[in-house]
Symmetry: C2
Subunit: 409 residues, 2 copies
């Protein structure tokens, strides 16, 4: 089996991490900032040196193309993103981009031509830390988000994506979209599963379904000192029981079912006032839409029952939905075949986080390769990976992409 | 038994409610504001008309004195406060001040002289809505708070109590403190107990003990989509269980034990992040200090157990303590004798809210008379009372005060 050059890839990762390097060992390259521009330019320099052809589309997605012997064929695409969280790590996104570059460098090392062209994509504003929504560039590319709407998104200083693109010279001419034969994205897992199971490779079978709900609980605000317990309608005591029910619900749908209450705010809260009104968020996830339907039904049923029993009022509103996104069976099979042939420790896994690949999966055949990150930690300057996993993941990417693109005879 | 003039008292209450009247039927007279000044001046006008002698101390407490036949005797004092919450009601505080005035007007009606002098006190900044702490004027009078510290307290605009007193001309010359024979305060209950029990009079036996705790729960922030449930250390799921335990704890100490969690905030909260750190407040109350000790021990024991079971860290810090404040047995007996003789429906009750009387009880013999408020509602423009209860409560005050002050023969 072909192998990539691990030390060269690691050196590139470390060099990119210097662009916007933070004091505590991470990187800060907010989307379309001067640091993001510098990161794109370093990447472009490497691509030019490797003989790749660069192009940029109207939302600033950057593409580096290696010709195939069948130049009319749609390209096999690899990629991810170079932007980071404000206190981001060195690998989230960057790994997928530079693994793509390393695949091409390794093909060059071995003098291998592919039949289909190869492209590396650098998607704009994946993190969503500067502009909303996250995964903005891949959303525009795949038609999930209108270009004009994306260009009008503004950061906290009121600067629009359009202005930021012009400022760094990344408002390109390439037409958005276009035929893509397949898309492969390597990424750190951003969770603890692979590490916990001592696996180096996750063969990602798709993205899980997500449903966000907004819950409002209304009781009766009253004085904490003068109101006997039996006469209270305490919204927080009710919400605590509801939140306990949500925790139990995940057990009923284990291990795929996930429930999280990330936000909770008490209206006009005061230390000696019984909470009369509060809001909390619910994040429900499952691999399968049908199970998520059942989970959501249970949320409605159980929360209403708790409210009724306590004389509270509860309203549950949908906030956002993302259906389950199964990846392409053939592309997943390419990844599986590669890892089997390489003999690396591995398991099937469903992506818990959002990725550009989720948008691409609704546009073209798509798969992902995960590698573990230390302690499952991500979106953090201390984000770390093992060089051995970085190398093995890229070996898998190389062989999967080569299988899909076809070696020219 | 002597009776007061109910319609006259009601008319005075309604006239005072016009000072700073709000659109929805309440009053806004923030402490030492122009509206508070106008309220004080209306009250002073009535007092002067009743032949009372006015004086003001250095913290702006206003006193109206009716001479007794034994002028060297310490006065029997009545009173409460005229300041309100920003959207306050028409009775909280005002009732105790104007009930005191009505007692004196009624004594005048009946040509009754008392042996001991009588004084009505209007305490500065009881509500704590403009300046902290609440009950500021009575705290200074009784020595619980240093005058210079009270004068230095500033509102949200940076205006100090000292400046505000000068602005409305209420920085007085009367020496603080001085001997007080007894203090009687009439007040609305600010809770639902009397109404729920269909009683017109609450014979208040003291103030309950209060203990405020700050709880910090530390888990591990992580991605809501990528972290399996068994690997989570969710600070909010732990806190929900703790809050449920606090609700159950009140049942173990029923009916006197009260537990309230009024504030809860998740650090760096985000809809799709597992809460890693949060803080919540605990308000514990009981009639007896010993029971409150036992409640607090249970809080420590149960919260630590929940944290340990979940791999969370919990720290519980004391924030504020107010010990139980039993009222003077003889003064309470005066109130009890009056209500018994008058034959009004009544019960013994412990004050759940803070009042100027709590400070006075640590300074001189003290008692309170409660009347119901509709729905237990207070600190609200819709605060309401029944005129019949207003009248009966003041009849009780009149006879209790007369018993203490002694009718001159």
């Amino acid at each position: 089996m072909l192998k990539i050059n691990g030390p060269r890839l690691w050196a590139s990762l470390m060099a990119m991490a210097e662009v916007g390097a933070t004091a505590r060992g991470g990187s800060c390259r907010l989307a379309l900032s001067a640091e993001d521009q510098a990161g794109r330019e370093l990447f472009s320099h490497w691509c030019t040196a490797a003989g790749l052809t660069l192009s940029v589309d109207a939302i600033g997605n950057l593409f580096a193309r290696r010709a195939g012997t069948e130049e009319d064929a749609a390209p096999v695409m690899m990629g991810s993103h170079l932007d980071t969280q404000p206190e981001g790590g060195r690998f989230d996104g960057v790994y997928g981009v530079l693994a793509g570059l390393e695949v091409i460098r390794s093909l060059d090392d071995h003098g291998i031509q592919t039949r289909k062209p190869l492209e590396i994509a650098v998607w704009t504003n994946e993190e969503g830390a500067r502009f909303t929504p996250a995964m903005l560039g891949s959303a525009v590319f795949t038609g999930a988000l209108a270009l004009d709407k994306a260009l009008a998104s503004v950061d906290v200083d009121g600067i629009s994506v359009a202005e930021a693109l012009r400022a760094i010279g990344y408002h390109g001419e390439r037409a958005s979209g276009g035929a893509v034969d397949a898309y492969f994205e390597a990424h750190i897992e951003q969770g603890p599963i692979l590490e916990d199971n001592a696996k180096s490779i996750g063969v990602v079978t798709g993205g899980q379904a997500i449903r966000w709900l907004d819950v409002r609980v209304t009781g009766m605000a009253a004085h904490a000192g003068t109101t006997p317990m039996p006469l209270r309608k305490d919204a927080l005591y009710g919400a605590a029981q509801m939140i306990q029910a949500l925790e139990s619900l995940a057990k009923d749908f284990a291990p795929e079912g996930l429930t999280t209450v990330g936000e909770l705010s008490i209206a006009k809260s005061s230390r000696n006032t019984i909470p009369g009104l509060l809001h909390f968020s619910v994040d429900l996830r499952h691999h399968r839409d049908t199970d998520l339907d059942a989970m959501e039904q249970q949320v409605h049923k159980q929360l209403q029952a708790i409210a009724a029993q306590r004389g509270l009022d509860v309203t549950i509103s949908p906030h956002w939905i993302s259906p389950a996104t199964p990846f392409d069976a053939q592309c997943v099979a390419c990844v599986q075949a590669a890892v089997d042939a390489l003999g690396y420790s591995q398991q099937r896994i469903v992506s818990g986080a959002g990725h550009d690949a989720i948008h691409l999966a609704r546009y073209c055949p798509t798969a992902m390769v995960f590698i573990p990150c230390v302690g499952g930690l991500s979106h953090n300057e201390a984000e770390d990976v093992l060089p051995e996993d970085v190398r093995q993941g890229t070996d898998v990417l190389l062989n999967a992409v080569l299988a899909r693109a076809g070696q020219a005879t």
